[in-house]
């Protein structure tokens, strides 16, 4: 990638977002979490939505690489490096947000040296760091000369299996919480895998289209359209899992009140679920991605991918925050009141600082990706239709 004013301008812009996030972190660490919207009722807020969104997208961004080397689709191989780089960058961005929101980020080393192996969080620390190592090795094998194809395929397979484990672990953070009616569902793990496929591919396509536009490279229309249709499939998968999640909860009488809250009476959460996640993040992208003129209009793909990402953030917001604001039912059959907000829907008003931290994570992801593309041989020289073997797509 050449050094152009556009490139450096982009990096300066991303740097400004990262600096703003850094300032927000210092402010929060100095005064404590009292200066955020998070409370003892909503203990995980917007920073966690962004962090988990990026971590989930990370494993999904690796899909293009996996399709190329594990599933042998030749046409995907030229962009496999970008897929690996973006996957690592997304994970770095997500982890940065996650650890910088800790009450004691200065004790991060403790989380790497003191483990409780019964905790899925502890396992995730290993899954995340392992992912960075394995994808790093995968990227190196793709770029080094003389790596035998079976070795590349083997490490690609390990990376693919690892990413499935990683998203299973992330979904299980919520799936294994028995206390709250909005969580406590084994389907969270496969649903998060579906979400990772969807968010990761959407992110990959946007980065690919953006980079090709900025560097005046050609992005095969055939390949772009294929990937867009695949994204449509993933969007449908997420809608399916989400539907099953709510239907199974509706079937359990003790969770019915929670479902009534999310689906009908939850105000902003109901609006976000139906309007944000289902309509704007699901049905509209589906309509765009399966539009008959998709191959002729790049803008349709861009809008659809942006909506998928927006819908993803909204979905995670509804899962995380909606699951916490709804009170835990400690006393079934009783009207409950207390000084600690028992029995009442909690308030959560996120502050700008939390958004600054979240956007900083996205900026860090894009900065790492851009720098990686600048200094490593990541991008294909030419990805025009003429250079893409149609048989490699099948």
């Amino acid at each position: 990638m050449r050094s152009t004013p556009q490139l450096w301008g982009l990096l300066v812009l991303l740097g400004a977002f990262i600096a703003a996030a850094g300032a927000a972190v210092l402010y929060i660490e100095h005064y404590g979490h009292i200066v955020t919207g998070m409370t003892n009722q909503v203990v995980w807020g917007v920073p966690h939505v962004f962090a988990i969104f990026l971590i989930v997208a990370a494993s999904g961004a690796l899909n293009v690489s996996s399709i190329g080397s594990v599933f042998g689709k030749q046409a995907y191989k030229p962009t496999a490096r970008l897929s690996g780089l973006l996957a690592m960058a997304l994970l770095i961005g997500g982890l940065a947000v996650l650890v910088l929101d800790l009450g004691r980020p200065d004790r991060l080393v403790i989380s790497m040296t003191t483990y409780n192996f019964k905790s899925i969080f502890a396992w995730n620390m290993l899954l995340y760091t392992g992912f960075l190592g394995i994808v790093g090795a995968y990227l190196y094998a793709q770029m080094a000369r003389g790596v035998p194809s079976f070795a590349l395929k083997s490490i690609g397979l390990v990376a693919f299996l690892w990413r499935l484990a990683l998203t299973t672990g992330t979904g299980s953070i919520f799936g294994w919480l028995v206390a709250r009616p909005g969580y406590d569902a084994g389907i969270m793990a496969p649903m998060f895998i579906g979400m990772s496929f969807s968010f990761g591919l959407a992110m990959f396509m946007l980065v690919m289209i953006g980079t090709c536009t900025m560097t005046r490279r050609v992005y095969s229309v055939e390949l772009r359209t294929r990937q867009a249709r695949l994204l449509g499939l993933f969007v449908a998968v997420v809608l399916f899992f989400s539907g099953i999640q709510h239907l199974s909860n509706l079937y359990v009488a003790e969770h019915a009140a929670y479902e009534r809250f999310i689906l009908l009476e939850g105000g902003i959460y109901t609006l976000l679920f139906w309007g944000g996640q289902v309509f704007l993040g699901g049905l509209v992208p589906l309509a765009l991605l399966f539009h008959p003129k998709l191959d002729r209009k790049k803008s349709l793909v861009v809008i659809a991918a942006l909506l998928v990402l927006f819908g993803g953030l909204v979905q995670l917001y509804v899962i995380l925050v909606g699951g916490q604001v709804y009170p835990m039912e400690i006393f079934p059959g009783y009207a409950v009141t207390s000084s600690f907000y028992d029995g009442t829907i909690a308030n959560y008003t996120p502050t700008m600082r939390e958004f600054m931290l979240g956007f900083g994570g996205i900026a860090l992801t894009l900065a790492v990706t851009t720098l990686g593309m600048k200094f490593l041989r990541i991008l294909p020289v030419n990805l025009s239709d003429a250079n893409v073997d149609p048989s490699g797509l099948e």
Binding site: N40, W44, A346
Partner: protein, 251 residues
């Protein structure tokens, strides 16, 4: 230590006096640390898997307008109401209940239920949430990273996150507290380890209500075991099979 201090105060001659004064100062500086570590090791030595400390709360004896257990806990452990109810810590709280079917109203104190299988301990990535051999569930303030996963996992909403700096005047040796970490009822472990009973139980007794009974669930002859064996009682969220050490009667 007292001998040295007394000698230095009497002071026979200048040099001797100066030496003794310095020795006394040094001793005074070192002794709290030694005492703390001795106290700590004595406390650890007293943790016995043959005990399981618990509370039995008789809801019929708990008055809705009484908050003495909450005040006592706050004074004992140094957590305070700072006027920010959404973020202030509450190690113990009074919950008012109204039976939707019958209209019966009751009031009861809620605190960490000191589960036998605590979800907070299961999910804590660093092991900062832990259960002692005698059943008391605690947070190791040295290795809590402030991730709040335990708060997500606790079915009783028993834990609080310290959202702001703890004022110096609120700090007490009974319970170390710090911004950015999670905390909850310790069952007054510092009192239990010296053979005393929790502050909430004492305060409740002093009001004449006597709704909170503390004791050893493993000792069949303890008052709490006898009460549990004689009268019906229940655990909150019994469906989760966490076997809490806090039980409720007449709920």
């Amino acid at each position: 230590m007292n001998k040295i201090v007394q000698s230095s105060e009497k002071g026979a001659e200048i040099n001797r006096r100066g030496f003794l004064a310095r020795a006394a100062a040094a001793t005074l500086a070192v002794v709290p640390g030694v005492t703390l570590s001795l106290y700590g090791s004595q406390a650890s030595a007293q943790v016995n898997a043959g005990n399981r400390w618990g509370l039995l709360i008789d809801v019929n004896k708990c008055r809705s307008d009484c908050n003495s257990c909450v005040t006592a806990c706050s004074n004992e452990n140094g957590w305070k109401d700072t006027g920010n109810p959404e973020t202030d810590p509450q190690w113990i709280r009074k919950v008012d209940l109204k039976d939707l079917a019958t209209g019966r109203e009751v009031s009861l104190p809620m605190m960490c239920q000191h589960c036998e299988s605590p979800p907070c301990v299961d999910v804590c990535p660093t092991g900062a949430s832990f259960k002692r051999a005698d059943g008391i569930v605690l947070v190791d303030k040295h290795i809590c990273i402030g991730c709040r996963y335990c708060m997500m996992a606790c079915p009783y909403k028993a834990r609080s996150f310290v959202h702001e700096e703890v004022p110096e005047e609120d700090k007490t040796v009974n319970a170390p507290r710090g911004k950015g970490t999670v905390e909850s009822c310790t069952l007054c472990v510092h009192r239990v380890d010296r053979g005393d009973i929790p502050a909430c139980a004492i305060a409740c007794g002093e009001t004449g209500n006597g709704a909170i009974l503390f004791g050893d669930l493993m000792d069949p002859n303890s008052e709490i075991s006898i009460q549990l064996a004689t009268y019906q009682s229940s655990a909150l969220r019994d469906d989760l099979r966490l076997n809490p050490g806090v039980r409720y009667q007449n709920r």
